[in-house]
């Protein structure tokens, strides 16, 4: 009975059909001052539809960007997906009026940590590099 339950759970959990990576890496963040947007795409493949979350942490452990998708969303369905990030931080001092244009805080040069989380469990980890 226990074996059947374990097998059932194992079958239910989504797995990666292609690795959790970002492209390009390294990449340039969106630059409000220059008006350019490069950003990066998080790519991953899911074996089955599942609730997923992509999180980005600074190296000091601060959660600076997070997006959640349900299994019914295109990003949570089975198959290969890409999610775009422009490099702007949700936690940044955003929308500051400075010299006539809107300034959003972006990730500084360096390495940040990104996590792909499925149903609350870390499915994969990836290190992304920002370099202007």
């Amino acid at each position: 009975m226990l074996l059947i339950l374990v097998l059932f759970c194992a079958c239910d959990a989504a797995t990666l059909t292609s690795p959790f990576l970002n492209y390009p890496n390294p990449f340039k963040t969106r630059d409000s001052k220059a008006g350019t947007t490069e950003g990066t795409y998080f790519a991953y493949g899911l074996s089955s539809a599942t609730n997923i979350e992509i999180r980005i942490y600074m190296i000091d452990g601060t959660l600076v960007w997070k997006r959640s998708f349900l299994s019914t969303d295109p990003e949570g369905s089975a198959g290969y997906h890409e999610v775009f990030w422009d490099g702007a931080l949700d936690t940044g001092a955003s929308k500051r009026q400075y010299s006539g244009y809107i300034l959003r805080e972006t990730a500084p040069n360096g390495i940040l940590l990104s996590f792909l989380i499925a149903n609350g469990k870390v499915l994969a980890k990836n290190k992304i590099t920002v370099f202007q």
Partner: protein
Amino acid sequence: MKKILHAIFAFCLLSSAACAALIPDVSRFAVGARTVGLGRAFVGIADDANSIFYNPAGGGWAKTVSLVSTTTRLLDDTNVLSLAGMFPTHYGSVGFAYATYGISGSFVTYRDALGQVAVDSTREGMSFSGSSAILSFSSLPFISPFSPDVKATLGFNVKLFRQSLGGGTVGAASSSGIDIDGGLLIRPSEWLRIGFSALNMLPDSYNQIGGSNNWDSGEERKEGIENVIKTGIGLKIPSSMLPKGMGKELIIDADLDMFIAKPRPALLHIGTEWWPSDYLGLRMGLDQDVASAGQTDSMVVASSFTYGAGLKFSSFLFDYAFKPSSLTDANSHYFSISYLIPTFSERQVIVALEPRDRTITYKPSVLLKAKSPSKVREVRVGGAAIKTLAGSFETVVDLSLGKNPIKMEGYDEKGANIASGECRVLRLAEFSDVPHQFWASDPISHMATLGIVSGFPDGTFKPQKGLTRAEMVTLLVRAKNTVLTKPSGNVFKDVRKEHWASQYIKASLNSNIVKGYPDGTFKPSAGLTRAEAVSVLVRFGDIREKETAASASYSDIASKHWAFRSISAARQAGLLSFIKESTFKPQRPITRAEACEMLSRIKFISGKIDQLLSFDIGY
């Protein structure tokens, strides 16, 4: 002090306003395990070398050299190592800190033939590292402008940041920046501390002097260094103040972080540390940080509990802290080892056994008995050298009237000054005919000690003797510390320039304290009645009758009496509280004792007496 705080505040407003990216301050996450266990609440307590990171003013209170080394691994990937040291000197505390972090294993990616993202295995992985070197100084405790009983320290840091990024398609890039911190730590009492600090105060718009992290390759890039203003209240409760059986010490700290130049919420940090014994300390804290709320430009305050413990063995302290993460397998564990070098610069104390510190005496000398540390071979008291025997010594010390700070300096066999002590003794004036139980003995003694009144050469004061006009004028002029000038001619018809009180009478005329008679005389030898004395003292003390008060007077003082208003005002001001009868007896000659009593109750004279009796001023 207000101006300094305003300047710091304005400076911080300028900070971090120009850069689109902010680098994390290593001071935020490279702190010791003890600090993390306290929920990163440390600005108020700031009592070990970790105070360099949070409140540089903490070092000024240090009595021992301390070194703290910390290591941790954040998100199971970023290695962090820090070392902080604090060295107390006779001029203040000098500190240093160095913190470094590093992460590697980020790979260059490309799109394969199917258009999917893959790792470019032909290129090396990329790595990122950073460091911060801090030089710190904190003043010795000084008396704060708020109160003579409140002491405070000021401290500041100069910080040098460096970062490097290399490998992959980056090549090799590095950056550097400079910033400063300021701190203030106030101790209103032994157990209460209030701290303020402003971290990374330099505005990043002036990169010539620092405030930003500047990259030397790639695109021209200037990144800000996150600035924050911290305030904290710390309680350090010793075992003597804890209920019996509640351990050796309890520490509580609550800090608030404010981001002046950024639209971020204030963050709270609360921590408590309990030492049930001398060897074991337990900690728990609440730590807050901002976190993404899952939408663009949306953040929440994320709270997490922290836990920690400390083990003390001799001069070593081992600390551990645990900070849980919302990610599985990403909890953070902090380990610190501290080394405290005991009594490196801590001066040993010589304790006066007799008389005790803060003693009041009437004697012209005291036999000082004191206990000195065992290594002290000679003690110098007021220039006299005394050999110590078995850690104690005694000597006779002559006292002058008023405050006597008896300083004791202890020297070892090599002549090095290794110990000191102080005994504060107040000697009050005493007269043979004024016993201590005499009703006016205190005001007479206080006024004589202050030099406002004086006795007679035979050691008496003659408290029941009447007061002449010349004597009263002399007393008032002395009370006001008026500058005396020798009169060039006669002051009055009956006050020749050779008269013993001519200088005082002239000064009182100039100050409008007294007037002469219409016939051009002063009658210096005439006795003063109570009514006359009260009238003069009310004018001297600028005492006004309260308009709303009922006429509080005596049965023998009719409202038509020439001194009625002065007597009423004096009674309302408490000058006449020594009169217990219902009559005032206005024609009765005023005595020296009564004059002292009334004068001692005039506001600015009572202020002088309060200062005389205070052991916190003038020693």
